[in-house]
Amino acid sequence: MHELPVTKSILEIVLRHAAANGVERVSAINLRVGALSDLEPEWLQSYFDHISGGTPADGARLRVRRSPLTFRCGSCSAEFDAARESLDRVACPDCGSGDASVVAGTSYTVEAMEAA
């Protein structure tokens, strides 16, 4: 359900850029989604297919690139990336401290589109 407003926003952004660039058919859309964002690519694509019917983005493939989850160590200030699954047992690769906090991983952007 929560993918729907996101999908509408993606379509609106893409159609606006398609019109501005005189694009008649969009074949693919590149998205960048933070590791912490709850977004199911399959649902996103299926909503998109549904709402983009009859527009220049009809049939466009959504390519989701997950941006990494970045932590900063509370002891030595080193920054490092880790998988979301390791959230509860993350340790700084430099000093081994477990006192690290997330500093990035929540992006939500339309990066580019492919015009056919």
Binding site: M1, H2, P5, V6, S9, I10, E12, I13, V14, H17, N21, V23, S27, A28, L31, L36, S37, D38, F71, G74, R84, L87, D88, V90, D99, A100, S101, V102, G105, T106, Y108, T109, V110, E111, A112, M113, E114, A115, A116
Partner: protein, 221 residues
């Protein structure tokens, strides 16, 4: 592949909502109204927390509540029964409040005679966090029976909020909620945000939470 062109976009998704939220924030700032957005699962005790907070902060501030619900008015009725203005927004199935919905609530309230406004978001830990309401402060609440692993399951809301409450501490003896573990998990996602342990039933911790909130409101100017 030579017949395709890559067009650069680099635009934030849901930026339209964020722009409206920013407008609401400036509008509220010019009228000196401080907006607090409260988020939690269904049943954590959002309405009870708001009622406790209103009762503790009066008569320092003139306060009102915008209640979000899918399709009922029971929360707004509870608030108005206590003598505070409340607007009920029915989202008709949508799982979170958008800036546009909050704007409707604001239009129905006497903003010039208010200092502090609460938005009670739809009970949900996923969707509300992606939709800026125009609030000055985002607060997320969980409760003892829900377990201490919510930050692991819904990290985004814990990463994006300014303060956290753990409600229902009065029943802590009956559950395995590990507060130290919960605090550690929150800190991993949000280093500086405070965590308040409260019971809306007994009033425990409400004074500390309200003192902090008062500091944020006064600090905002």
């Amino acid at each position: 592949m030579s017949d395709t062109t890559l067009i650069d976009i680099k635009e934030e998704i849901l930026s339209e909502n964020r722009e409206l939220a920013n407008q609401l924030r400036s509008e509220l700032e010019s009228r000196r109204v401080f907006l607090v957005n409260l988020m939690s699962s269904p049943g954590s005790g959002k309405t009870s927390l708001i009622l406790q907070t209103l009762s503790h902060l009066q008569p320092s501030y003139r306060m009102a509540v915008i209640e979000g619900d899918v399709d009922s008015a029971v929360d707004a009725e509870r608030v108005t029964k206590e003598g505070f203005p409340a607007i009920q927004l029915k989202t008709g199935g949508s799982c979170h409040l958008t800036a546009a919905m909050v704007e409707k609530g604001l239009q129905a309230l006497p903003l010039d005679s208010l200092d502090l406004l609460f938005v009670e978001n739809i009970g949900n830990l996923i969707c509300p966090v992606s939709s800026d309401t125009g609030a000055n402060l985002n607060v997320a609440m969980t409760s003892v029976p829900e377990g201490d692993d919510k930050p692991l399951k819904y990290p985004r809301i814990f990463q994006a909020s300014d303060a956290f409450l753990v409600n229902k501490t009065d029943v802590a003896d009956h559950f395995d909620f590990d507060v130290a573990e919960f605090r550690r998990r929150v800190r991993r996602l949000n280093r500086d945000a405070p965590v308040f342990e409260v019971s809306c039933k007994t009033g425990q911790g409400i004074v500390e939470w309200c003192a902090w909130l008062r500091g944020r409101i006064e600090g905002h100017g």
